[in-house]
């Protein structure tokens, strides 16, 4: 087995992307994800790929569109305000049925906001990555190991389903270091590289007058044709939803309180849950979606069936909680929401307090659905 290495989340993601065959990186610096660009600048040329610091985020995302159209594994990365600028190209990439990786290491908003960790782009990533009817795959890592693993997974899924994939991380995951196993480098022989069969049958690589033209386009002025293409795309999305939802659960089989959260927040609550499960009385479990789109709704509903109350902590104002409520609407279970914003992150002690507080609420009133703004209960 390969040796464990110590890397920052941003760097692990970048190295894993190169190992996954990414050969084009286009970006523009912004905290807290600049290490991805810095790593790519140093290492992409050694892998025989291209690194371009574009003149803007808009340009970088459109370069991804162009590179992806050739069947090349291409990516860009940014943080919240920069992702907003990329949204036009994201819509074009989805409309062109192209695979690409977009990384958002979220910081606090709205506006230019701050540079500390946040999950405030949940709706943007899962609902409105750009204009028009489309989806993108959204992967939510919770460790440096997953920052690397999901870079590989994102390319695999993006190519399998011909759609953009986003890794939705945050400042904590990007900046922290943890030991990890890097994905293996593919054993490529020179013969593999020249193997024409490996080329996707939609890639624009030049016909050499030997085959008919392929067309990649997002402009369809005939409403019937456009509707048909949207219907086809959404039929594909239904398959993605049925096959690609990923999640993790840790805790007792039938917890009293089911904590549902993703990303770095799940790490903080994991500690609180471990602490509370060592005491008598309250039993808690952690359900963590690894894919935010597709959302593991059926799996969450199955897990939530036997709990008494659901607690949703997030670094945003209830965006993620909407999906939890949708998934569990038929049960129904009372859902408490614990918000932090502005780059503020709960401490393990705060997480423990929230857990105990929401359980105390349930003991008093089994239908109460309280909301917390930091320590303040509304």
């Amino acid at each position: 087995m390969e040796e464990r290495v110590l890397m920052k989340g941003n760097e692990a993601l970048a190295e894993a992307a190169i190992r996954a065959g990414c050969r084009c990186y286009f970006g523009y610096p912004i905290t807290p994800q600049t290490e991805i660009a810095a790593y790519m600048a140093r290492h992409m040329p050694k892998a025989g790929g291209s690194f371009v610091q574009a003149e803007s985020e808009v340009a970088a995302a459109n370069m991804v569109l162009g590179a992806a159209a050739t069947g090349t594994r291409a990516m860009t990365s940014s943080s919240s305000p920069g992702i907003s600028l990329k949204s036009e190209a994201l819509s074009y990439i989805a409309a062109s049925d192209l695979p690409a990786l977009i990384v958002n290491v979220m910081r606090a908003g709205p506006g230019l906001g701050g540079i500390q960790p946040s999950q405030g782009d949940y709706w943007q990533a899962t609902r409105a990555a750009g204009h028009g009817d489309f989806h993108q795959l959204v992967l939510a890592p919770a460790s440096v190991q997953e920052m690397a693993d999901f870079a590989v997974l994102a390319f695999t899924l993006a190519f399998k389903w011909r759609m953009p994939a986003m890794i939705l991380a945050d400042g904590t995951l990007g900046q922290m270091m943890e030991p990890l196993y890097l994905p293996k480098r593919p054993d490529r022989t020179p013969a593999d590289r020249t193997n024409q069969a490996a080329e996707p049958d939609w890639a624009l690589t030049g016909t050499l007058n030997r085959r008919s033209h392929r067309i990649i386009n997002s402009l369809v002025l005939n409403p019937a044709a456009l509707e048909a293409s949207v219907f086809e795309r959404f039929a594909r999305y239904r398959q993605v939803q049925a096959q690609e939802a990923r999640w993790r659960y840790e805790g007792p089989e039938d917890p009293d309180v089911l904590v549902v959260c993703y990303g770095s927040v799940s790490r903080i609550y994991k500690q609180a849950i471990q602490a509370v499960n060592q005491e008598q009385g309250l039993r808690a479990g952690l359900f963590r979606p690894q894919t935010l789109w597709p959302f593991p709704a059926a799996e969450l509903a199955a897990k939530a069936k036997h709990c008494k109350k659901i607690l949703v902590p997030e670094l945003s104002m209830g965006q993620f909680c909407d999906d939890v409520k949708l998934a569990t609407a038929k049960l129904p279970k009372p859902v408490a929401l614990a918000c932090r914003a502005g780059g503020q992150v709960p401490t393990p002690a705060e997480a423990l307090q929230r857990l105990k507080q929401t359980w105390a609420c349930w003991l008093q009133d089994q239908e109460q659905e309280e909301v917390y703004y930091g320590d303040r209960q509304l």
Partner: protein, 199 residues
């Protein structure tokens, strides 16, 4: 797995998870100190996380870094209490001192307590060790290597990992940069060990 068959870790954690908080100013080597600790812990077979302060702090002002060591996968990389605090100056002590866990260990540069250690401020601390780390480093090595001196002192205080592991990690980090710099850092670690042994 029986206890005898468990892999023997070359480490003794005073508690698990062992939460370390390092704080000082930009230029003190706060993040590098944490990185070396993390690398040595990895070499000793531990799980760990390393989380830096980023943003305005990097451009001057206070800087800090949280390192969590454990035998199991680390749950929270974010800590609100520290079992060990490495403190490089007074500003950092005043800002972060409240994070010390009850019974925690403080290892500080003298500049953190310019008026001496006030027992009243330290009621929760288990142990406090103050060294003239920056001063000694400047006098003997002519560089700002107070951080390495404190790290050397730490190996005398807590057997988290061996001095040899630390030396190996330092070599990995600095050999490519400058052999002279590596030698000075190694000397600073040894000086810290000697000072702590005579403490």
């Amino acid at each position: 797995m029986s206890k005898d068959l468990m892999p023997q870790l070359k480490t003794l954690l005073p508690c698990d998870p062992y939460r370390i908080f390092i704080c000082g100013s930009g230029g003190d080597g706060v993040l590098f100190t944490g990185k070396l600790l993390a690398q040595a812990a990895l070499r000793a077979g531990l799980e760990l996380s390393w989380l830096p302060s980023y943003g305005p702090e990097m451009r001057g002002g206070t800087a800090n870094c949280s390192v969590v060591l454990s035998r199991q996968a680390v749950a929270s990389p974010i800590i609100d209490q520290a079992d060990l605090m490495l403190i490089f100056n007074q500003a950092a002590w005043l800002k972060y001192g409240a994070r010390l866990a009850p019974g925690g260990l403080i290892l500080a540069d003298q500049s953190a307590f310019p008026d001496g250690v006030d027992e009243g401020d330290l009621k929760g601390a288990g142990q406090v060790h103050v060294l003239a780390a920056k001063q000694e480093a400047a006098a003997h090595l002519g560089r700002n290597l107070g951080n390495m001196l404190l790290l050397g002192a730490l190996t005398e205080l807590v057997p988290l990992f061996s001095a040899a592991d630390l030396a190996w990690c330092l070599q990995q980090s600095l050999t490519a940069k400058s052999t002279a710099l590596l030698a000075q850092n190694q000397q600073a670690i040894k000086l810290g060990q000697r000072l702590m042994a005579g403490d």
